[in-house]
């Protein structure tokens, strides 16, 4: 209470004219925001233009909205099939990532064992290796083990390549949970795994939600593995489908943009529904309680 009063008294009185420095910073931030939003708006209204209209003036508004672009985009790319493929691969990968990240993150946070530092470094190292350097060896492995071109093919690299960050997030979150809770559970006779799943797992739900949502975006948008590891057209994912709008020397931009909007829709909805959780989750674990 005292602290609050003190803080209030420090606040400067309202001024009629805003502080020019603050104004400048706000203007800058507004400009920055606009630079992020305007391209999205542009994609939105451009998706309603005819190709000739787009070519004539790329910035103008559509004279008569062409909703047929959306229908064409759905037909051309077989959007339902693409979305189903993406959804299946993404959903299962996210479950795998979240589960492995929880167990590994928990263990690295709570247990001391030989080689722990090496293990953490190994996971960190995973963030540094560029995917393109690994495409050929991974392609060979998959081909030789008969794992390429199956409905589950992409799940394996998606889980493997997306583990680093989630493990770090979970680990730092678990470190923030007071050990006393686990000690109390142990005194009550709960085993290690019992504590891990029945006591700490519910507490870790916020960070696991964050992990799941972040990795959902990553898997949904992945392109390189999907391109190289899949040959069967019926297995293609949404990012691959966007190439249907390009030919060697020209691109149907309005249809491509309609396709992009459609492919962004699921991730955008998920983002809006869960945005507060993502932010909360990323912040959690940042401050040690």
């Amino acid at each position: 209470m005292e602290l609050q009063l003190e803080l209030q008294s420090q606040r400067s009185p309202r001024r009629f004219f805003p502080n020019p420095a603050k104004l400048a910073v706000n203007a800058l931030l507004l400009l920055f925001t606009a630079s992020c939003i305007i391209p999205l708006l542009w994609i939105g209204y451009s998706s309603l233009k005819t190709q000739a209209e787009f070519a004539n003036n790329i910035l103008s508004l559509p004279s008569a909205p062409q909703f047929s672009n959306y229908w064409e985009a759905i037909k051309l790319t077989n959007m339902l099939q693409l979305s189903w493929n993406s959804a299946r691969v993404t959903f299962l990968s996210v479950i795998g990532i979240t589960a492995i990240a929880y167990v590994t993150g928990y263990i690295t946070a709570r247990l001391d064992f030989k080689g722990k530092r090496a293990m953490i470094f190994y996971y960190l190292f995973g963030m540094l290796v560029p995917i393109h350097a690994l495409l050929v060896p991974i392609y060979l492995l998959f081909k030789n083990w008969g794992l390429a071109d199956q409905w589950y093919t992409l799940i394996i690299p998606y889980i493997a390549f997306n583990l680093s960050l989630p493990i770090m997030l979970v680990s730092s979150y678990v470190m923030g949970i007071p050990r006393e809770i686990e000690e109390a559970a142990a005194i009550d006779g709960l085993s290690f795994s019992g504590t891990m799943y029945r006591i700490i797992l519910p507490i870790a739900v916020p960070v696991l939600t964050t992990v799941a949502i972040l990795q959902f975006f990553s898997c949904w948008n992945e392109f390189s593995f999907a391109l190289v590891l899949l040959n069967d057209e019926s297995l293609r994912t949404v990012p691959l489908g966007m190439s249907y709008f390009k030919s060697q020397h020209s691109t149907n931009y309005p249809q491509l943009m309609a396709g992009m909007i459609l492919s962004m829709l699921p991730v955008t909805i998920i983002y809006f529904v869960f945005s507060s959780r993502i932010i909360a989750g990323v912040m959690s674990g940042a401050i040690k309680g």
């Binding site: 190709q51 000739a52 070519a55 004539n56 003036n57 790329i58 051309l76 790319t77 495409l135 050929v136 060896p137 392609y139 060979l140 492995l141 081909k143 030789n144 083990w145 008969g146 390189s224 391109l227 190289v228 040959n231 057209e233 691959l240 190439s243 249907y244 709008f245 390009k246 030919s247 060697q248 020397h249 020209s250 691109t251 149907n252 931009y253």
Partner: protein, 445 residues
């Protein structure tokens, strides 16, 4: 041996992984089950481009006809978009796991031949002389190494044509495209007064300058013998006056302000859009832009577009009407395919996809096939597409540098020309740098 590239290294890694795995699946998949022939085919032609792109339309029509005529042959086809194809094909080639039939851009051919990824096709083509001899002169060249044909060309066509707005040129007193460089500069000046660029230009992807400008200009000035001499290491130099003059012409157009200022940061699509918007009176591009104009240009622009090539150069040694061109992309066959029924079937399929009937269709929908289509129905062609076709057929095709020069030289030229166009280096400096890269290449053991 030393010339073998990065890909070979990758292949060594790849093969060691293969042997470590000790799997025999590759052999299994290569074997044909029973009497059915299975052909795997990967290319960059897509169903979704039928009707929009002449090449896609013609090639896929050929494939469809082949499937109808040979229902017993199974084709496992993978269609990919251009850039995606490059990524995937290079990964598969490094893993030595290319499909039976695939596309090889001319600039990859040396690498693929050196690494024995592609099969020589001479013997097979000799069995089909009528088909083999139907290709336009020079179109097989970039798919040929040391006298052996490794690739069947698909489309040819100039990479240098000028599409210009006749109404805009008429408004400054030119009834046709300026016939000399002095006139062209004069037209540039008059257009600049009206706030219009002479040419729109877009070299963001690096390679446009070389494809559509440098190859044609240098040939005008130096003649084709110069290019041959460079390729054979017979004494021609990039520091020769003719090459510097060609680059100088481009640099002058930029310096005079006759091109759009963002010339290095916009791509080809934007360059064409500037023309559609009336911000430029012309643009230089390949024959592929003809159908882009027919399909996408505003009506008044479409109606006033005509086709030309660069004016001749005074005292130039080359054909004043020549245009850089030829085939750039080839169908090749995996070196693992053995002579016999399967190879026969593959050759027949390729004839369906690139031969006479397919060529006719490609020409009728506005493309320029590598195979001479003979007489075809021009009735359906838009005048712009027809003009581009006629200019292409009339032009004397000369070599496109990026298909022929070593990648190290191409890279220096592609990057350096951006500097010249931006005014940060002179044509002489670029010539000097290119010559250095060329000498390094020549001195390789």
């Amino acid at each position: 041996m030393n010339k073998r590239s990065f890909m070979l290294g990758l292949m060594v890694v790849a093969s060691s992984v293969l042997s470590a795995c000790g799997s025999g699946e590759n052999e299994e998949s290569a074997a044909e089950s029973g009497n059915t022939i299975t052909i795997s085919l990967m290319h960059r032609y897509q169903e979704s481009n039928i009707g929009k792109s002449p090449e896609d339309t013609a090639v896929l029509d050929g494939l469809k006809r082949f499937r109808e005529d040979y229902p017993d042959i199974e084709i496992i086809e993978e269609q990919l978009q251009n850039e995606d194809y490059s990524i995937k094909a290079q990964a598969l080639a490094a893993a030595d796991d290319m499909p039976d039939v695939f596309i090889v851009p001319g600039s990859w051919m040396t690498n693929f031949v050196d690494n024995e990824i592609v099969l020589p096709l001479d013997k097979e083509l000799d069995k089909r002389p009528e088909w083999r001899d139907g290709y336009r002169a020079g179109t097989l060249d970039a798919g040929t190494r040391e006298g052996q044909i490794y690739g069947i060309p698909i489309a040819a066509g100039p990479t240098h044509l000028i599409y210009y707005n006749a109404d805009l040129f008429a408004s400054i007193g030119y009834d046709q495209f300026p016939a000399s460089w002095t006139d062209l500069m004069d037209a540039g000046d008059k257009l600049a007064e009206k706030g219009i660029n002479l040419f729109s230009y877009g070299d963001k992807s690096k390679g446009y300058a070389m494809s559509s400008w440098i190859s044609a200009l240098t040939d005008r000035i130096n003649g084709p013998e110069w290019t041959e001499s460079i390729l054979n290491g017979d004494g021609a130099k990039f520091t020769d006056e003719g090459f510097i003059q060609g680059i100088g012409i481009m640099s002058e157009l930029a310096k005079a302000g006759y091109l759009n200022k963002d010339l290095n940061s916009v791509d080809n699509d934007t360059m064409v859009n500037y023309y559609f918007e009336g911000r430029s009176a012309a643009f230089v591009s390949g024959i592929w832009s003809a159908m882009n104009i027919v399909n996408n240009a505003p009506d008044e622009i479409k109606a006033s577009t005509r086709v030309a090539v660069f004016p001749g150069v005074e005292n130039g040694l080359g054909n004043p009407l020549s245009s850089s061109g030829g085939a750039g992309v080839y169908y090749s066959v995996n070196s693992g395919v053995e002579a016999g029924e399967k190879l026969d079937a593959i050759m027949t399929m390729l004839e369906y996809m690139t031969g006479s009937d397919s060529a006719k269709l490609m020409a009728e929908v506005g493309g320029f096939p590598a195979y001479d289509p003979g007489d075809f129905d021009t009735g359906k062609l838009h005048p712009v597409a027809l003009a581009a076709y006629e200019a292409s057929a009339a032009a004397d095709a000369t070599k496109i540098f990026d298909l022929w020069f070593d990648a190290s030289i191409v890279e220096v030229l592609n990057t350096g020309i951006q500097g010249v166009m931006a005014g940060s280096r002179t044509p002489e400096q670029l010539a000097e740098e290119t010559q250095q890269a060329y000498e390094t290449f020549l001195n390789q053991p």
